[in-house]
């Protein structure tokens, strides 16, 4: 070990507090890098792998009923590699232990297992056996949420009859990585599940022998998706085709891919903040170290050490701190990553989602942290290297102070002497002050972002579940019903108010753009279900024409006053031109609304309805539920409270971990900024503070003079951090404008208060550490030396 290395270790030990602070910030940055990159890599490769190995289809279409022979015709469409015709139906389920009804989507599978599109991965149990119509496989998410194991039975209403279904296996499908029912935003795995049943068993139950109502296609390489979709639509139109779509509109794929895309961005953005702060901290620590060791540097150079070896010596400080942080951050990141992967696994069901931080990620981690170290060390090193030995042996010229800006306007009377000391010290190095405040502001902003998600979600709940939806139960019929049904739903047990609605599958076309969508017909005086925009304004249903959500209008490129072509994908499949009467800036999904009577007129039908929103007497709900469970014409029952509850739980689960991590990270940043700022100030002003103690100032008084600087920076950083947090949240709302949801830009005072409190607490805690150092100050020793 050379003597320079001995010095390195002694100095490192001396600066251990500050080095630790740097290392912790680096550790946070590297941990987020490893976590997010690892999770991103894991989920992306899991997705690709799964899709390939289990033959996830490329084109999907639903229809009313077509003979199997049509499937052979579909296979002949140029570019189609394989065709999977299926029967898919939704039934009411009676799940043991669940009072309210659940919906099961039953999908046919070949009686004898053979490779197919959207192939199943058996998690547990076995495939169905031929000749046993009661056997089913259930999706893992549904099984887990309801604690359904192999061997259990569930009840299902099939063709008006109660059937007992026996679970023989738990399965996953690439179609249901994110298992969610069409129109919902968040999965409710307790009340919606996928079941697979043999085609031979399912066909006869729903009058689908030799026929299918759902088809998936795989395309040959190089085939034109749009071309195939067009041909397929033409083939399916006579059979009630609901419009074919590609993976982009496949809901599970859409969600999963949106998530992957978001992870990719945050996985770069968040670590960059931390490493930027780490570089800044290294800069101030190293600059100070080099300033205090001027004489020593001069001596080394006089002894013949080269500029490079002196520079390297100081660079090693930065590298040691940063690499120590990396060494800490990598396992932390892997640990957090495993936790995150666990959460992902609750949402995204892959046969295998293994978080792994591969050598590439780790090498990058070392590389970027070393780069941050070099960046931070740059300024200090330049001065150490360029310092001529003779110059270095002279003491540093004393700091030059000026009267501050405020004082030049004669405002000094307003500021106490210690206040003036604080301000002048800050003004002497404005950039350092600005960057310090920015660093603290980042901590504040990180907290604001963390808690913003809660605000946004509360707001979404308020808009969607409290203002727009005010029913207790929504029921959906398996097919449109006539006027009698209007009457019947009103007289169901416990129903206080019933508001029928009509949903019609259609393709909206405007010029070259088109979109499949369900047009919802609502009564203009509906109270249980209203159209509410993001400003919480209730948008009245126009008597004529369409009311579109702004997002859908943007997708189609239409504005109010434009006429869109509505191709109805049901019944006689009329094609009409309808005026866009208005837009509603909604937070969730994409939708099109019409006056229910207008919709009926459009369809040339006599008051038919697809379902109803109900207000229900809570005392009567058990009776209503058990009635609905056994009503074959009712294919879906949604309970608003239950949906809300499940939504809240899902969110709480997914947000609590990231929030905790963010709070911890923000504390580290705030603590590290205050600690290093104060330690540097203590080193620079130790002499001055000791002489104040000699003059009779108490420890508390000089602590105010020292920490006042940090407190001032923190106060400045608060509004800065609030603004920064707001801007980032704004950017997030722009970035997160997916078709599925838009994040509202709402930040409650509570969020600001939390951000402030956490940062303030972390700062106070750090301040106490510094305060305790002041007690150990050597008054006499300081006075013996010239500053």
């Amino acid at each position: 070990m050379t003597s320079l290395h001995r010095k390195l270790f002694r100095d490192l030990w001396h600066l251990r507090g500050q080095m630790l602070a740097v290392a912790l910030v680096v550790a946070c940055g590297i941990a987020t890098w490893v976590t997010m990159r690892g999770a991103w890599g894991a989920i992306e490769s899991a997705q690709q792998d799964y899709y390939t190995r289990y033959r996830f289809a490329g084109i999907f279409a639903q229809l009313k009923r077509a003979p199997d022979a049509l499937a052979r015709q579909i296979a002949l469409i140029p570019g189609v590699a394989s065709v999977q015709p299926r029967v898919v139906v939704e039934v009411n389920l009676d799940v043991p232990g669940l009072a309210d009804p659940a919906v099961g989507r039953v999908i046919s599978i070949p009686e004898h297992r053979r490779p197919m599109l959207n192939d199943l991965f058996l998690v547990e149990g076995r495939y169905v056996e031929p000749g046993r119509p009661e056997e089913v496989l259930v999706s893992a998410a549904f099984a887990a949420a309801n604690q359904l194991g192999v061997g259990k039975t569930i009840g299902a209403v099939i063709n008006g009859r109660w059937e007992k279904l026996k679970i023989v296996g738990i399965a996953l499908s690439p179609e249901y990585v994110y298992e969610i029912r069409g129109a919902e935003v968040f999965p409710d795995n307790r009340r919606f599940g996928v079941l697979w049943m043999s085609r031979e068993a399912l066909g006869p139950m729903f009058n689908m022998e030799g026929a299918f109502n759902d088809v998936s296609l795989a395309l040959a390489p190089g085939a034109s998706q749009a071309g195939v979709i067009e041909r397929l639509d033409t083939l399916l139109a006579p059979y009630g085709g609901l419009g074919a779509y590609d993976r982009e509109e496949q809901i599970s794929h859409r969600f999963t891919s949106d998530e992957i895309a978001q992870d990719r961005v945050t996985g770069i953005f968040v670590p960059a903040i931390f490493l930027g702060i780490a570089a800044f901290l290294i800069h101030i620590v190293l600059s100070r170290l080099i300033a205090t060791q001027r004489n020593y540097i001069g001596l080394l150079k006089a002894f013949g050490y080269s500029d490079a070896s002196v520079g390297l010596h100081y660079l090693e400080f930065a590298l040691v701190a940063v690499l120590a942080g990396t060494a800490l951050g990598i396992p932390l990141g892997i640990w957090l990553g495993r936790g995150l992967a666990g959460i992902y696994q609750d949402f995204f069901r892959f046969p295998e989602l293994r978080f792994s931080a591969g050598p590439r990620i780790l090498l990058w981690a070392v590389g970027i942290s070393a780069a941050a170290a070099c960046l931070g060390a740059l300024g200090g090193l330049r001065s150490a290297i360029s310092l001529p030995p003779a110059e270095a042996m002279r003491p540093e010229s004393p700091p030059r102070f000026r009267r501050g800006l405020a004082e030049q306007f004669g405002l000094e009377r307003l500021v106490s002497l210690s206040g003036r000391m604080i301000l002048r010290n800050l003004e002497r190095r404005p950039w350092k002050a600005i960057l310090s405040a920015l660093g603290m502001a980042c901590a504040v902003a990180i907290l604001i972002i963390g808690f913003y998600f809660y605000d946004a979600i509360d707001y979404i709940v308020q808009v969607e579940f409290q203002t727009a939806q005010r029913d207790d139960v929504t029921i959906t019929f398996n097919e449109p019903r006539g006027t009698q049904a209007r009457h019947d739903v009103g007289h169901l047990v416990g129903v206080l108010r019933a508001e029928p609605f009509r949903t019609v599958p259609a393709r909206l076309r405007f010029g070259p753009r088109s979109r499949r969508i369900g047009i919802t017909g609502l009564s203009p005086d509906a109270e249980l279900r209203r159209v509410v925009d993001r400003q919480l304004q209730v948008i009245p249903i126009p008597p004529d024409g369409l009311l579109l959500s702004s997002k859908l209008a943007a997708i189609l490129g239409v504005a109010p006053g434009d006429a869109v072509t509505v191709e109805v994908l049901e019944g006689s499949r009329p094609v009409r031109r309808v005026l866009v009467a208005g837009l509603a800036d909604q937070l969730i999904g994409i939708s099109a609304y019409m006056d229910i009577h207008g919709l009926n007129r459009l369809l040339r039908e006599e008051g038919s309805i697809s379902g109803a929103n109900l207000a229900v007497d809570s005392a009567a709900t058990p009776a209503l539920y058990s009635l609905l469970k056994q009503t074959p014409s009712v294919s879906g029952v949604q309970v608003r409270e239950a949906m809300l509850e499940s939504f809240r739980q899902t969110i709480a689960r997914s947000l609590s971990m990231s929030t905790m991590a963010l709070v911890a990270f923000a504390c580290v940043i705030a603590g590290a900024m205050v600690y290093n700022g104060a330690r540097i100030a203590l080193s620079e002003r130790g002499h001055e503070l000791a002489s104040l103690r000699v003059l009779g100032f108490t420890q508390g008084e000089i602590a105010v003079m020292l920490l006042g600087e940090q407190a001032f920076l923190m106060l400045v950083s608060l509004p800065l951090g609030f603004a920064l947090g707001y801007v980032i949240c704004y950017a997030l709302t722009i970035a997160m404008q997916t078709e599925l949801y838009r994040m509202p830009l709402v930040l409650t005072p509570k969020t600001y208060v939390i951000a402030f409190s956490v940062v303030a607490l972390a700062s106070v805690f750090t301040g106490i550490l510094i305060f305790r150092r002041l007690r150990r100050m050597d008054l006499i020793g300081v006075l013996k030396t010239r500053e």
């Binding site: 004393p398 700091p399 030059r400 102070f401 009267r403 106490s416 002497l417 003036r420 000391m421 002048r424 010290n425 002497r428 002499h687 001055e688 002489s691 104040l692 103690r693 000699v694 003059l695 009779g696 100032f697 108490t698 420890q699 008084e701 008054l779 006499i780 006075l783 013996k784 030396t785 010239r786 500053e787």
Partner: protein, 243 residues
């Protein structure tokens, strides 16, 4: 009067009795003071002389409440400084002691006037800060920062800062050590004037035996003990001293 023991007098402001100070550095013990007994009387000007390492600064620091003796007792009037807690020593320094050091220890971010006001802000019955700076001849330099002042000017600010609170005692550790001849004399003149006009007990450590002539008493310290105390029957004013 000569002898290792100083006299004890009832009107003394400071009683120092059999004070020892031992520094422990690992296994090595350094006896900085080995039984010092001394009284300081109101208004007197005392010069401490002695070779380097003899314990002068140690004694001064104990008198000023910056350090505590290992054994023995130090009284400032009826305050027992030996038994005082750190907070009491701080208050004692704040209320009664003025320090002047070889290095001026001014606050670099405050102007001359503000450095002085720093002390008036925390004292009960201070002099006027501007007045004090005028007293040390710095009326023209009130708004200069320390970096804009010469060494002698900085030392005069330090003196102004030390006396502005009307301390009972002014403790100066080599106040002229870093100054040239002329400036050193100027500083001594100011110390003499403060002592004369404000009746502040003034203790000055110096390596410059010539300065001893301006003292009421000269205390010679050697190897941690008082070797001798000489009383000057006739004080000489600083402008008559030369070295």
């Amino acid at each position: 009067m000569k002898g290792a023991r100083a006299q004890t007098s009832p009107e003394a402001v400071f009683h120092v009795h059999e004070v020892t100070k031992v520094y422990r550095m690992g296994d090595v013990e350094v006896h900085a003071l080995r039984g010092v007994t001394l009284d300081l009387l109101p208004g007197e000007f005392v010069v401490l002389l002695g070779p380097s390492g003899s314990g002068k600064s140690t004694l001064l620091n104990i008198l000023g409440g910056l350090d505590v003796p290992t054994s023995g007792e130090v009284y400032y009037r009826d305050h027992n400084l030996t038994a005082a807690a750190a907070e009491e020593l701080t208050r004692y320094r704040r209320e009664h002691v003025g320090f002047v050091f070889q290095f001026y220890n001014l606050i670099p971010s405050l102007t001359a006037l503000e450095n002085t006001q720093l002390v008036t802000d925390i004292s009960e019955n201070p002099l006027d800060a501007e007045e004090c700076l005028r007293l040390v001849g710095l009326a023209e330099r009130l708004h200069h920062f320390p970096a804009q002042l010469s060494g002698g000017e900085q030392q005069r600010v330090a003196i102004a800062r030390a006396v502005v609170k009307r301390p009972e005692v002014l403790l100066c550790d080599e106040p002229t050590g870093a100054l040239d001849y002329m400036t050193g004399k100027l500083v001594l003149e100011i110390l003499e004037r403060v002592n004369r006009e404000l009746r502040t007990i003034t203790v000055v450590i110096t390596h410059n035996a010539a300065i001893a002539a301006m003292a009421d008493r000269v205390i010679h310290i050697s190897s941690g003990t008082i070797a001798s105390i000489t009383r000057n029957e006739k004080k000489v004013s600083p402008d008559q001293i030369s070295w």
